[in-house]
């Protein structure tokens, strides 16, 4: 321990020394002689003055991108992409880069606490426990409660912890762990897999091979921002655009606002919210007619003229699109985002998949197929839909849950207020959080037993979608833990041992690494993988070294087109809840996503389309603004049937005049100094409306906009004078 502490202090001091310098030399050294914290006991590998690189997995979202972390003298310095990981092939997104600001975040939870619900964290409010006591608490919680009343709520990432908990719950007869994340909610994953089940034959995450497509129709899927696996899809996009020297891929985006993805489209079609499915069908019908022959049943029923009026997409536009599609060798259509977050989301998804069936790209390069299951996985397990979360919350309220374990998710912030998770927590006798950061949920828990940061911990993570290969991405600690935290897996293992009996039997592992290796054993035989190893120790070593294990060949289950075309697809008109003159479109902030708000450099990054930093804004068309007498930076109140939220206005020329949009990611009431009390959370106004697949119809609401008379100047990277002109300022 002393060695670790001394190293940490040394690092602090050295970096402070590097950063602070005497006034009179300005850029000069802090003093003539810096008395360095002794580092004479450092392990030999940090002794040579060179950097060491560790392969691990990015935990900022569930996409399972591989990272290679450059460390120097025991501290992580730079996150770089793992070039051999098929998901990101050496690339990273901004959040992956900023993961170090999570690791070295000043607001991490440093030791296990017995918290006081709702109180800000700190020695005065909560009392510090030691880990033995903490594990005792967990053990008692497991043992003294009826298994059916023990619940695990976990993050989106299908990782080793999820496997462990699944084993445990299965063994003791507790309900399977529930996985949830705001990203999953806004991506409508349940809808996608349901649509896949209905049309493609099995409940899996469909995979859209845009890399080899030459015409891409995206119905609200913002796959360049946060959708499913942004890095992978961005790679695909680049290949689609410039990969083929002969032909430049053509990309059309249907969305009611010009999102970052739409900004890259050759055609952005500001479509009336909720009519994506109709448009898909209409295009399909026109394509079928253009190709000649009999129009498949799926498209027979749709009335094009009717669609034109409803969607506000001119017939000429449709025809030009049809022309593109007919010309194309491998067109593909993607459903996602706001298109699925409607009351008719499922049928929209089905319509789009049916269109893909029509252009006959199933299983073909540049077409649609099913994402392969990752190694050592036999069935696709998707995160809970909002509907299922409501049931879960109902169970909490009814007292059906006596102890709740929360890890890797922050439902108090991520779930719409109207679901009432925060209230439901109060009716759960014991809530134990494993949060790394003091987020809202952690502060509302009885105990916080902080997990290591992702870069300090072992593990593996499955890639759900984004690559054609089957990938199991490996994680290993790149630095020794900075604080008195403990791996949740170890905590559960030891707790199970303490609890004894069936618990101990369920988890007969010495420690986290032993458990991970046990999960890897079935891969040892595999010969078509990224590496082959005779026995587990070698395999585990390679696994850490390569940053995971993946099949060399693409293996995509191919759906059958016939079944998809055979059945009729009817898209009801979307219903919009509440009254008000505007449609409300929340979208996930491309730079912050759901958990980035506590990383200062992510806050400092401008939103790609509006260039707003450090805050939340309301996107409104300037025309609308003129009508309502609202100017830039006027704080408006958005009132829906479910609630209200306030934020300053950004007059955004590229949004439908009847649509109000707002980014999700800010508006924390906790979660550290960089996030707390900054911006507003659009989830506060979302009402309880679901699509046919049980996903939240988050884009299916009407809202009112009220002036508050206050002004709050938004920080923008752009200079307003140059971008929007200076004359009218006079």
């Amino acid at each position: 321990m002393s060695e670790k502490i001394s190293r940490r202090d040394f690092l602090k001091l050295a970096s402070v020394g590097a950063a602070t310098t005497a006034v009179l030399t300005g850029c000069g050294p802090a003093s003539r002689y810096v008395v360095r914290e002794p580092y004479t006991k450092m392990p030999e590998y940090t002794y040579n003055g060179l950097s060491t690189y560790y392969a691990t997995t990015c935990r900022e979202c569930a996409a399972a991108c591989g990272l290679v972390i450059r460390t120097m003298q025991g501290r992580a310095i730079k996150a770089e992409g793992n070039a051999s990981n098929p998901v990101n092939l050496g690339k990273t997104c901004a959040r992956g880069q900023a993961t170090l600001h999570g690791l070295y975040n000043p607001d991490r939870i440093t030791e296990p606490y017995k918290g006081i619900r709702g109180q800000p964290l700190g020695r005065e409010s909560g009392s510090v426990l030691d880990w033995d006591a903490a594990i005792q608490v967990v053990a008692d919680a497991l043992k003294n409660n009826n298994p059916s009343e023990v619940a695990f709520l976990m993050g989106m990432a299908p990782d080793h912890l999820f496997d462990l908990v699944s084993d445990l719950t299965a063994a003791i007869g507790a309900p399977a762990p529930v996985r949830f994340g705001a990203l999953g909610m806004f991506e409508s994953r349940a809808t996608l897999s349901k649509a896949a089940e209905n049309l493609l034959g099995q409940p899996a995450m469909p995979f859209f091979d845009i890399a080899n497509a030459d015409v891409v129709l995206s119905f609200g899927a913002n796959f360049l921002e946060t959708w499913l696996s942004p890095v992978a899809y961005t790679r695909g996009f680049a290949k689609m655009r410039r990969g083929n020297p002969k032909r430049r891929g053509y990309f059309i985006q249907f969305e009611s606002r010009l999102s970052q993805t739409a900004a890259k489209a050759d055609e952005w079609i500001p479509i009336h919210p909720g009519t994506d499915g109709l448009v898909a069908l209409a295009i399909g019908k026109l394509v079928a007619e253009a190709k000649g022959g009999v129009t498949p049943r799926a498209f027979a029923s749709v009335n094009v003229a009717d669609v034109v009026t409803k969607s506000g997409v001119a017939l000429e536009t449709l025809e030009s699109i049809v022309h593109h599609v007919v010309e194309a060798e491998s067109p593909v259509a993607i459903p996602g985002g706001t298109a699925l977050g409607q009351s008719n989301g499922l049928s929209t998804a089905e319509a789009v998949l049916a269109f893909n069936a029509l252009v006959d790209n199933f299983g073909k390069p540049g077409g649609v197929s099913l994402s392969p299951l990752s190694p050592n996985q036999n069935v696709y397990h998707r995160p809970a839909s909002a509907q299922e979360m409501t049931d879960f919350i109902a169970k909490m309220k009814s007292g059906g849950i006596k102890v709740l374990f929360v890890h890797g998710v922050n439902p108090v912030f991520e779930l719409p207020k109207s679901l009432g998770f925060a209230e439901a927590l109060s009716s759960v006798p014991q809530v134990i959080s494993f949060a790394t950061f003091p987020d809202e949920t952690a502060l509302a828990s009885d105990y916080i037993f902080p997990d290591h940061h992702g870069l300090e911990s072992w593990g593996y993570q499955r890639s759900v979608t984004g690559t054609q290969q089957s990938v199991l991405s490996g994680a290993q600690p790149v630095v020794s833990p900075s604080y008195n935290t403990n791996s949740t897996v170890d905590v559960l293992l030891r707790a199970a041992q303490l609890a004894g009996g069936k618990f101990a039997e369920a988890l007969p592992y010495a420690d986290e690494v032993a458990f991970i290796q046990s999960k890897l054993t079935n891969l040892i035989g595999e010969t078509d993988g990224s590496f082959v190893a005779p026995e587990i120790n070698t395999f585990a070593a390679y696994f850490q070294q390569h940053g995971g294990w993946w099949k060399n060949a693409a293996e995509l289950p191919t759906p059958s087109a016939a079944s998809a075309l055979g059945q009729g697809v009817t898209v009801e008109e979307a219903e919009f809840a509440g009254e008000g003159e505007f449609f409300f479109v929340p979208f996930v902030s491309p730079t912050l996503a759901e958990a980035g708000a506590n990383k200062p450099w992510l806050q400092e990054l401008p939103d790609p389309t509006t260039t707003v930093l450090w805050n939340t804004w309301v996107e409104m068309n300037p025309e609308t603004g003129k009508e309502l007498g609202i100017e830039n930076d006027d704080v408006v109140k958005i009132v829906s049937e479910a609630g209200e939220v306030e934020a300053p206005v950004y007059l955004y020329p590229a949004i439908r005049p009847d649509v109000i949009a707002m980014p999700f990611g800010q508006g924390h009431t906790a979660y550290g100094r960089f996030a707390q009390g900054r911006g507003a959370n659009p989830a506060d106004v979302l009402g309880l409306h679901f699509n046919e697949a049980g996903d939240l119809a988050f884009a299916g609401m009407r809202v009112k906009v009220e002036k508050t008379g206050r002004k709050q100047v938004l920080s923008r990277l752009e200079g307003k004078l140059g971008v929007y002109g200076f004359i009218e300022e006079k």
Binding site: K12, A19, A76, I77, K78, P600, E604, P606, E718
Partner: protein
């Protein structure tokens, strides 16, 4: 080599243009404006964050910023210009260099880069004023001093020891990750060879998910960057000023 570059996107075929050492190509048709390069650059080069108020006032320290303007703001014909990552163009005839009274902004003859020598800078800000691309960032406060910003004490563990941490009153800018250049050259030298193309790259190019940024030797006609630069879509920013930038932009659109 010259012949290779003759059919180049380079419109200005002066001798300097054909020379040069390090170059970068940015494909605006691929750039999705995702800000990964900005984050990567800031992490690699110890660029401080300045907070909401200062960033809003124009003091953000980004060494690379992704610009976007509007071709038309009239709905529904509204059109956004392609995202344009703007970093120091490493001009061969750099306007920032001759105006510095103390050689803090100076040309590197061995690397053909614009250097900013932090410890020499006295903060006249003439270079920033004279830079047509407005890519220089000035340290308005001690943004990196943990005594002033206690939240940095832990974050500073992430600082890159290969890059100087700047203090107040100093101008700074993109360096083409010169510390990586030096590392690679050092390594190559110790193994008695030249630096190979693609052996290393800048932080932004390394991160870019769309591979919109290419970096390498432009005096080597076989290098990836040279080939990219010869695209007919190639252009330089503010070419009319004759600053001979080392960054080529490939136009967006079909």
């Amino acid at each position: 080599m010259a012949t290779e570059l003759e059919q180049a996107g380079f419109t200005n075929r002066s001798e300097e243009e054909l020379g040069g050492r390090w170059g970068m190509v940015v494909d605006q048709d691929l750039c999705t404006g995702c800000q990964a390069c900005v984050a990567a650059c800031s992490m690699e080069n110890n660029v401080p964050f300045v907070g909401e108020e200062d960033a809003g006032y124009g003091r953000a320290m980004h060494w690379i910023r992704i610009e976007r303007l509007w071709e038309s703001t009239e709905y529904p014909e509204v059109k956004m210009t392609p995202f344009q990552p703007t970093m120091c163009q490493q001009c061969h005839n750099a306007p920032c260099e001759p105006v510095c009274p103390v050689y803090a902004s100076v040309h590197s003859d061995s690397q053909d880069l614009n250097l900013q020598v932090y410890n020499r800078c006295i903060g006249t800000r003439y270079c920033g004023n004279n830079c047509p691309y407005q890519v220089r960032a000035f340290n308005w406060y001690d943004y990196t001093d943990a005594r002033i910003r206690p939240e940095l004490t832990t974050l500073q563990n992430q600082l890159n020891p290969d890059v100087t941490v700047r203090r107040r009153g100093i101008m700074e800018k993109c360096t083409f990750c010169i510390q990586r250049i030096h590392k690679a050259e050092d390594k190559a030298k110790s193994e008695g060879r030249e630096v190979e193309d693609g052996e290393f790259t800048t932080a932004c190019a390394q991160a870019c998910p769309a591979s919109a940024i290419t970096f390498g030797r432009i005096d080597d006609p076989k290098s990836e960057v040279s080939r990219a630069a010869t695209s007919s879509r190639g252009k330089h920013l503010l070419e009319e000023l004759g600053t001979l930038p080392r960054v080529t932009y490939l136009a967006g659109g079909a």
